[in-house]
Amino acid sequence: MKRIYVNEQWCLACHLCEYYCAYANSGLLDMVQALKDKPLHPRIQVEQKGTVSFAVNCRHCSEPLCLKSCIAGAISQKDGLIVIDQDKCVGCYSCIMACPYGALMPSESGVMQKCELCATNSHGLPVCVQGCPNQAIVYEER
C-alpha cells in the first residue's frame, strides 16, 4: 500500500503542508476562504527542534493501536487505510493516548480527526505531498 513518508533531510520547516492539509479537508474550494483568520486544524504537523524538522501524520499502521483503543468503534481499517467516523467519535481521547506518533488530534468540532491520505476528500492525491516544495513528503510504496 502507498503511504506518506517523510525525508527529513529535505524538510524546510516551511509548514506549507499544514496549510494545504487544512485547506484540503475544509471542503471549501477557495484556500483564502478556508483559512483566512481562522484557527488552523491540520492533520499533519511539522515537528521541529533546532535545525531538524519533519512532518508527522498518520502512519497507517498495519496493526493500528488507535483502532484497538477506540471505545466507540469509530476507527476502522479498510485496505490498509485507517479512517475515522466522526459521527461515532465521542471525543474520549483514548486514541490520542494510544497513538505512538501523535497522529490524531481533535478537530474544530472537538471530535478526533486524522490523516486519511486525502482519500476521503475531493483531492485524490495527498495534498501535503503535492504542496511540499522540496519533496520532503512523498507518497509511495515501500
Binding site: 529535505w10 524546510l12 516551511c14 496549510y19 484556500m31 483564502v32 483566512k36 483568520d37 520532503a136
Partner: protein, 501 residues
Amino acid sequence: MGINYLYPDFEVIRNQDRCITCRVCERQCANEVHSFDEATGRMKADESKCVNCHRCVSLCPTHALKIVRTDHIFKENANWKGEVIQDIYRQAESGGVLLASMGTPKDYPVYWDKMLVNASQVTNPSIDPLREPMETRTYLGQKASAVTRDTNGRIITKTAPQLKLEIPIMFSAMSYGSISYNAHKSLALAAQKLGIYYNTGEGGLHEDFYQYGKNTIVQVASGRFGVHPGYLNAGAAIEIKMGQGAKPGIGGHLPGSKIGEDISKTRMIPLHSDAISPAPHHDIYSIEDLRQLVFALKEATAYTKPVIVKVAAVHNISAIASGIARSGADIIAIDGFRGGTGAAPARTRDNVGIPIELALASVDERLRQEGIRGNVSLVVGGSIRSSSDVLKAVALGADAVYVATSALIALGCHLCRTCHSGKCNWGIATQNPELVKRLNPEIGSERLVNLITAWNHELKEMMGGMGINSIEALRGNRLMLRGIGLNETELQILGIKHAGA
C-alpha cells in the same frame, strides 16, 4: 541611522485580502524581509532588505505577494541616471569596490537576437526529426588533419582523446564554494543522465562526486585549489582557466566565511581563509608557458584526457585563440562578457570584454584561415539562453556551448544578482546548510535534464527545418544565418549576409 541616501529598490505588495498569515514568506526569507505583527495579526515587510529573489512569491500558497520596482525617482537626467547616483552614494559610504553577481544587466546589443535562421523551401527538402534520424552527438578534441596509414597500409584510427557529447551543450564551470553542494550534485546527476559534462570550476572536486568523473571536467585555475593527481585523473577532461567572461583579467575571490570544513578540505586550504585566485597564472606569461602547463597536465594524466583552455572574450581574441590552438590544447573555451559569476567588481563585469558572438565568429574565421581549425574544438559560453542561441553558435562555428546561468535558472535562480551576499534563498549560491537544503538534487537534476532535453528537441526541429540532419553538418555553416539590423562592420565580423541578401 544618520542620513539614509538609498531608498529601497523594490516594494513588497501584499494583498491582505488573500494573505492567510501562514508565514511561509517569513520562514523562507534569509534576508528577513517579512515578519508577523502580533499587534495586528498581519504580516508586514521591511522592503529595504528585499533583493527581489521571488522565493516568497513562489511559495506563497494564495498568490498574495508580488514584488514591484519602486516608482520613487530622482529628478530625471539622461546622464546622471538614478543607478549612477546610487552607486556614488554607496561608494561614498563604503569607500569600497562595488560588488555584483551574475552576468551584466547592461543594455548591450545581443547579437543572437540580431541573427535569423534559414529553412528549406521547395528546392531542398526539410527533415522531420520525429520520423527521420537526426544526430546531435558530437566529439570535442583534436581532429586528424589527414588520413595516415601504418606500414601495412591500414588506416591508423587512433585519435587524440575526445569528449563525446550526446547533446552539444555542457554545464560550464561553477566552483564548489561559489555554488552549493546540492547545486553541484544536481549538475553532476544531470550531466550523467544526459551524456554530457559538467565542470568543477576552480574549487576542486568534493570526494562524493568522484563517482561522476566520467561526466566531469576538472578545472585548474590560477589558485590551483584542490588540484592533485587524483583530481586530475578523476575527470574526463582538464580545463585550464585563464579567464572568465564576467571578470576578464582578474581572479576569483571566495570569502573566508564560505570556507567551511568541506570546502576547506576540497580546496586544500585552511578553514575560513579567503580563497583568492591570482589574476594571472604566475607560471604563464606566454603561449610557450601555456604549452608547458598543457603538457604537464597531459603528462600527469598519461595523454588520456583532452585539455581545454578557457579564456575570456577580449580584444584580439582571435590572435590569442590562434596561440592556444598551437599550444597543444585540445579544446578552446571562450567565455563572453555577458557570462555569470558568483561575485565580481561591478565595473569590471559591466565594462570589460566583448560579446561572445563576435569573438566566436572571428576566432573560427582566423583558425580556418591559418589552417589550424582542426587542431582544436571550440566551445563558447557567456549567456547562451535558449536552443536557438545554441543553434546560432554552432552555425557561427562552435563545436559545443557552455551554459551556466540557464542551468542555475532551471534550478530556481531568479537572477536577483546578490550571490555575493551568500544568502541565496534558492539554496544555490550559498554555503549555509539551512539554505543549501532547499535545493533537493533529485528535483534539481530532473529540471536540468528536462531543460537540456527540451533544447535538444528544439535543436532537432530547427535543424530539420534547414534540411540538416547532423549537428556537425551545421557547424560553421554561416550561410544558414542572416543578420537583421546590423551594420556592415558587424556583418563582416560575423561573416554573415544581411537578411534579404
